[in-house]
Symmetry: C2
Subunit: 341 residues, 2 copies
């Protein structure tokens, strides 16, 4: 009765102009959505050392010559949202996305690259559970995979993100991140680029630099600082305890920043997530890395940064209906609690 | 250490230009976010008959002269996202929202009206648990509250929505809906208005009419039909089993549609939610009503409709990072399952 695995597809909603990826990985069996108890097992799982055959063929590992003693592995996503589609070019996807003529149904094959970074040979869960070497190599892998995907020439953007906990949409407990190569700059990043560009034009200042300067002067939303980074709860936080990490230097692209900075980002991110975990009792969380696109068009004004969303509040009917977020904790309150955590 | 209840505030994110409502109802105590077991108790709760004193003073009840024998009650939200702010006009809010000049921090007081519709004197949970009279009066209350708030002249939009279950962001189990009067048309509705208007201009057809005609011709995404309504899984569904209900007639505004149609919508919505509940084992869900704004500017092309989101999949790092949604169930598969449920 139900159809088998379909090719992923980008589809446009004619009402909102928003794009979705229809990736019918699960064949639509409704029983798969039964509420299951959270899998707080100790492993072993398909991502654990010894079960390497349970994942699709390895793309690379870290350290590269570690053999079975790997600390971090990169594999294709077994249930990809997007796949490398023969006969579909990134140019075609971009052209379809850009087509502004009103149409009821617009779609194009879900061309893209979707990888998983397994962050530890042991059954670690949160970023804060990784040992120093896995943490270091995970953030080097972020930089490395972005560099490699950029060099392929097929993608203009790579979205790196991490889901921890069922409430954050994670279906596998073992610590991992995801890397998605996309033909077009996604709408959320495109919005940031637009406003960052407009700010530069209107004020002759870079938005991120102005923001950092003002946030440091006010101080009330600052969570933590190092020589390289500032963590803060943004002024218009969508979620309770939302926290961003920004490098102090203006660096548009993550993959061309130094290895040392990537490693330092890993350490600082784990420290900030430690504060969130002590404060909110190990909540589910997402984080995501925003960086300038590979075509260089935002290199003169954009600033890469990491956004962390503890999933303690849930977007509900108001958010879906209006597009506005209700945040029940003022960022100034959240930052005060986190500073002291 | 922590500040007490603050006035709600609209704040703009300078990066995305998105608006959030900072409504620090809970004083930011992080312990309030501990995971609690879902409160599947049988009541009584503050919304149950006999506990009328536990809610702020009643705005109205249905039937109006029912005294203690009410079937539906409307009360102010005890933890409002927006409040009627002295000295703040809707014009000021709209002016602040429209101000396009690049600024780091933009805010205005959270002026608005936030009400709760208690849908049953007994401890019902889902819309499908209501008796016929409470169901009928709930949907008449939607229409009535929209009409009343429209007549106040202070609001240009009213967002009606319902959250059922903790995973859908509901903090109170007892069946209820929420009504929020807003000075400005929210961004998600404004987007729909823009594309609906552009479609009319480009094709001389109303987008919703064209969409309904084409969906009925294709048939694959249709879930159910009556003389008045069509339920379908939209072509670019963001969520697994997302289902919309559209009236067959072109009716821009819900509050000026007939009482009979509001009552029929209630019956049909309960029937469609029954299908979702049988298929997905009583999932958490949100629904929301989109309608043309009170200023009449969309009356020639817009179409009110109800969007239902079962909360069986969770937006995760990819969605927050890119603004694109990954939907693991093709709408055609979802509709086939729901038609037969």
């Amino acid at each position: 009765m139900l159809v088998v695995q379909r090719q992923p597809e980008y589809r446009k909603d004619p009402l909102s102009d928003g794009w979705v990826v229809i990736a019918a990985e699960r064949n639509g069996r409704p029983d798969e959505f039964r509420d299951l108890p959270s899998p707080r097992s100790a492993g072993p799982c398909p991502f654990c050392h010894g079960n390497e055959n349970a994942t699709p063929g390895e793309i690379c590992k870290y350290p590269p010559d570690s053999g079975e003693q790997w600390k971090v592995r990169v594999v294709p996503n077994k249930f990809p949202a997007v796949v490398r589609c023969d006969g579909v070019s990134s140019a075609l996807v971009i052209k379809t996305f850009k087509n502004g003529s009103p149409q009821l149904f617009t779609s194009v094959l879900g061309h893209g690259g979707h990888e998983v970074i397994i962050e530890s040979p042991q059954h670690a869960i949160s970023l804060t559970d990784l040992d120093d070497e896995s943490l270091r190599l995970t953030f080097l892998a972020y930089r490395d995979r972005m560099k490699t995907l950029a060099a392929e020439g097929a993608w203009n953007y790579v979205q790196i993100f991490k889901n921890v906990g069922a409430a954050a949409g994670s279906s596998i407990e073992h610590a991992h991140s995801q890397v998605v190569g996309l033909p077009a700059v996604p709408v959320r990043v495109a919005d940031e680029l637009t406003h960052s560009r407009e700010f530069l034009k209107a004020t002759r200042r870079r938005l991120f630099e102005a923001l950092l300067e003002e946030e440091l002067a006010q101080g009330t939303r600052i969570v933590a600082e190092t020589a390289d980074f500032v963590a803060l709860c943004p002024y218009a936080s969508r979620f309770a305890y939302e926290t961003w990490i920004l490098p102090r230097q203006t660096l548009p692209r993550f993959e061309t920043s130094s290895e040392a900075l990537a490693i330092a980002l890993g350490r600082f991110t784990a420290a900030v997530i430690g504060k969130l975990e002590r404060t909110l009792h190990r909540p589910a969380y997402n984080y995501l890395l925003h960086s300038a696109p590979f075509d260089g068009t935002a290199d003169d004004h954009y600033h890469w940064h990491l956004e962390i969303f503890p999933r303690v509040t849930k977007p509900a009917g108001f958010e879906w209906g209006t597009g506005y977020y209700i945040n029940p904790v003022a960022p100034e309150q959240a930052a005060e609690v986190l500073r002291n955590a």
